[in-house]
């Protein structure tokens, strides 16, 4: 999140800088952080399957990442943007056909058994590759994992596999499960999916459905003097307005993932004892996207898509819907993915006249009542902001003579309508950018994806040139070559507009000032919280 838009944004930047600067000295003297205490956190959902190796979603990671660790975690200043966790190093062979992981020594599972390369090999071949939604793409060409000793795992691929992709995907796809509890069982229904056993700083203590999850300190954690907290409790608060009230009443100490409505942040930032933090979500960028159904003849016309892009006042969206806690998008890769981001793409300024002119050119004249044609608009129901943007888009389209009728549905119905039945003209979607285009935005424009795959290109768009770039990038092992291909990809998408990228946003945490050392990595909310502490 680099762009500075409004004063509120600046204020936030400054406050997070201040936070960082006060956090640094405490990091240097980590022993001085208070020990013990119970951190109570708001959780807005209760995933039924908590296994992060199978379900790589933020809702699961939020809770499970404290118990089950990945090979490496995202980092602000580490090499390749990574910080070692269960792996201490990773190296790719020059032909791109193998990657060697050195593993951490002296790590034990919560049940006392030692952690070894056999666990990693088992997970890679039996869980990540066949069962995980993202692992299927990342490890598509994985054929074997050699374990010459207990602390070395060599991944072998049938085709050259870019280390860049593996690195970017590690925090998300590489959660390691204990082989001894899963081998020979049905992995999908194993009881350890709900009662997690891992190597992380916290052990899974209990789940009281509808009320809370309780995690307890792992006394034998490999991290020196970690964790600091005795307990973490995730209190189930599905109602967003309840989180702010609970924070103010000091019933909880932390609400992550914007559990406090954006509109309430201004006020809550003035409540003594509470702080508002926008750091810690840099690697969890959500993109606000208008999906387009190219089967509609009007929308198959590039001029109409450009007109729609010109009709959207991104600044209004940022300032009013996101209240400054977002930035405008230029294309399919967000700005804070600086490795891939390319600003040099066609842009579409807010210009109603130009939009109207484009529609006239395309041959869609206004009829007597000022309408050119009607559209069915389906805003995704998952976020307040996607719904509000739907309300706004309807108004923005009305200004250029397009009558959009909003169809609201709950999550399951929305999913079916858009991604299986294609019963939409425009849809508002919030896809996640997961650090590498190959596991995030390319699926939104690539052709040949069967109906029924959620969060993918279901608008009937097909562009052979774009498909070729995407498939070439998946096998290009040279990182700078691969990055160049994705720069090209961004240009084509921004020119042809298979979809319209409107904004990108991270989340906001609100915490009690007693909570120390938070937001210290770009995936903080879904990282292990080993260094987080609570002032008594």
């Amino acid at each position: 999140m680099s762009a500075l838009h409004v004063s509120r944004r600046q204020m936030l930047q400054i406050s997070s800088l201040l936070l960082a600067s006060t956090a640094l000295p405490t990091l240097a003297a980590a022993q001085n952080l208070p020990k013990g205490g119970r951190l109570v956190v708001a959780a807005d959902s209760e995933p039924k399957n908590l296994n992060p190796a199978i379900v790589a979603s933020n809702g699961v990671f939020f809770i499970a990442s404290k118990v089950i660790e990945p090979l490496a975690e995202a980092s602000f200043d580490g090499k390749d943007g990574l910080e070692p966790r269960l792996a201490t190093s990773w190296e790719s062979a020059s032909d791109g056909l193998s990657i060697t992981f050195k593993l951490r020594e002296g790590v034990t599972w919560h049940d006392g058994k030692p952690f070894t390369s056999a666990d990693v090999a088992y997970c890679a071949l039996n869980v990540w590759k066949p069962l995980q939604n993202l692992g299927r793409i990342v490890f598509a060409n994985l054929t074997a994992v050699d374990t010459p000793d207990d602390l070395t795992a060599i991944f072998r691929f049938s085709k050259p596999t870019p280390i860049q992709l593996i690195r970017n995907a590690l925090p998300v796809v590489s959660s390691v499960l204990p082989k001894h509890l899963y081998e020979g069982t049905d992995i999908a229904t194993n009881s350890a999916n709900v009662k997690l056993v891992g190597t992380g700083p916290f052990t899974f203590a209990e789940h009281k459905p509808g009320e809370y999850y309780r995690l307890a300190r792992n006394e034998n954690y490999w991290g020196k003097d970690q964790p600091h907290l005795d307990e973490i409790i995730f209190r189930v608060l599905p109602d967003r307005a309840a989180a702010a009230a609970a924070l103010e009443a000091e019933e909880i100490q932390l609400a992550a993932f914007s559990a406090v409505p954006l509109a309430d942040l201004d006020r809550i930032s003035k409540v003594p004892g509470l702080k508002v933090i926008s750091r810690g979500y840099e690697a969890l960028t959500y993109q606000l996207v208008v999906d387009i159904n190219h089967r509609r003849k009007e929308l198959a016309d590039q001029k109409v898509r450009q007109a729609i892009a010109h009709a959207i006042d991104k600044q209004f969206v940022i300032d009013t819907i996101f209240l400054g806690y977002a930035s405008a998008s230029t294309g399919p890769v967000p700005k804070n993915a600086s490795e891939f981001y390319d600003a040099d793409v066609p842009s579409y300024a807010f210009d109603v006249e130009r939009a109207n002119a484009l529609l006239d050119e395309a041959g869609y004249k206004r009829s007597g009542d000022g309408t050119r044609f009607e559209l069915k608009l389906r805003p995704a129901p998952y976020f307040n902001e996607t719904r509000q943007f739907g309300d706004y888009l309807r108004q923005a389209l009305a200004a250029i003579g397009i009558d959009a009728q909003i169809v609201n549905a709950d999550s399951a119905a929305h999913q079916k309508a858009v991604y299986t039945d294609h019963d939409f003209d425009l849809a508002v979607a919030p896809p996640v950018f997961r650090g590498d285009p190959a596991i995030s935005t390319t699926i939104l424009v690539q052709s040949g994806i069967p109906a029924g795959v959620p969060f993918s290109n279901q608008g009937g768009y097909s562009n052979p040139a774009l498909d070729a770039i995407i498939s070439k990038a998946s096998e290009t092992i040279d990182s700078s070559e691969r990055t160049k291909l994705y720069n090209e990809f961004q240009k084509i998408v921004a020119t042809d507009l298979p979809l319209i990228n409107v904004a990108e946003w991270g989340f906001i945490s609100v915490a009690s000032e007693r909570v120390l050392d938070i937001a210290d990595n770009p995936r903080w909310a879904v990282s292990n919280w080993a260094s987080t502490a609570l002032q008594p």
Partner: protein, 284 residues
């Protein structure tokens, strides 16, 4: 006419009549008071009431005019309330009439269906129905009507059964009147008034149910409703409480108006007996 005359002589009746008349006038002239789409973004977001005379009640999170929302929301509330009540009463009358007249197995089956709808909490049913069918105005109306038709049906059936034993019906049968004609011309007019007496409470319940559904995010997104305004305002309840309070007051006023009218109606119909018993129809 005589009934209206009697009605406006009761204090409750006149108060309810005035409240509802004002509401109907407001919703009828909604497009004059606040022209254009009420969901249009009209100005700066979160403007407090009375700070800008062009937007007298202020604006919401997206800068939409609160006054326009209230005025057009009145239209939605009254429409949903009356449409759902009308649908429920019509369905109830038909089912009750058929069950009461046919008797025997038909009666038995229909009444078991009525039982089924009566024992399932109406709001739970509406919630499930709207989530499943997708939120739109007609679906909301049907959902509310589904939870409300069982009482009028039971009431009608009881009426029909008592009426059909009366002498003049027997007489009509003897002179060879067609059963359908008897049903429509002789029995129906007698069976309707008691159902109408509880109709106002059905309207009030429908308005409240619609608000609760919208509050849970299950209203029609293309129309402004008071329930959705309250739900939206809830996110900023502490900093901009008026966003929830104003539509809340509008809602309460409307429901009070309906209840007052219903009390007045009941008094006018039967002397002094008050009838604020939403499910007055007795169960078998």
């Amino acid at each position: 006419m005589k009934l209206i005359h009697k009605l406006i002589r009761t204090p409750e009746g006149i108060a309810g009549f005035v409240i509802l008349a004002i509401l109907i006038i407001i919703s009828a002239s909604a497009s004059l008071i606040a022209p254009g789409d009420p969901l249009r973004i009209a100005g700066q977001a979160l403007l407090a009431p009375f700070s800008d005379m062009n937007l007298p009640l202020g604006t919401d999170r997206l800068g939409r005019d609160v006054l326009a929302g209230i005025v057009h929301g009145a239209r939605t509330s009254l429409f949903v309330g009356t449409a759902a009540a009308l649908a429920a009463i019509t369905l109830g009358l038909c089912v009750g009439l058929i069950a009461g007249l046919a008797g025997g197995l038909v009666d038995e089956i229909l009444m078991r269906v009525v039982d089924a709808f009566q024992i399932v909490p109406g709001f739970l049913l509406a919630l499930a129905f709207v989530s499943v069918m997708g939120a739109s105005l007609p679906v909301v109306v049907i959902a509310i009507a589904l939870g409300a038709w069982a009482d009028p049906a039971r009431l009608t059936r009881a009426q029909v059964r008592s009426i059909r034993e009366r002498d003049y019906i027997a007489a009509a049968r003897v002179i060879g009147m067609h059963p359908a004609e008897i049903a429509v011309r002789q029995i129906l007019p007698q069976a309707v008034p008691p159902v109408l007496a509880v109709s106002a409470t059905i309207v009030a319940a429908a308005i409240l149910t619609e608000a609760a559904l919208s509050f849970l995010g299950l209203g029609d997104p293309n129309t402004v409703t008071w329930g959705s305004m309250i739900a939206e305002g809830r996110n900023v309840l502490r900093s901009s409480p008026w966003l929830s309070i104003i539509p809340g007051i509008a809602l309460v006023t409307t429901v009070i108006g309906v209840y007052l009218l219903s009390e007045g109606l009941a008094k006018a119909l039967s002397g002094t007996h008050a009838a604020l018993t939403p499910r007055e129809g007795e169960r078998s």
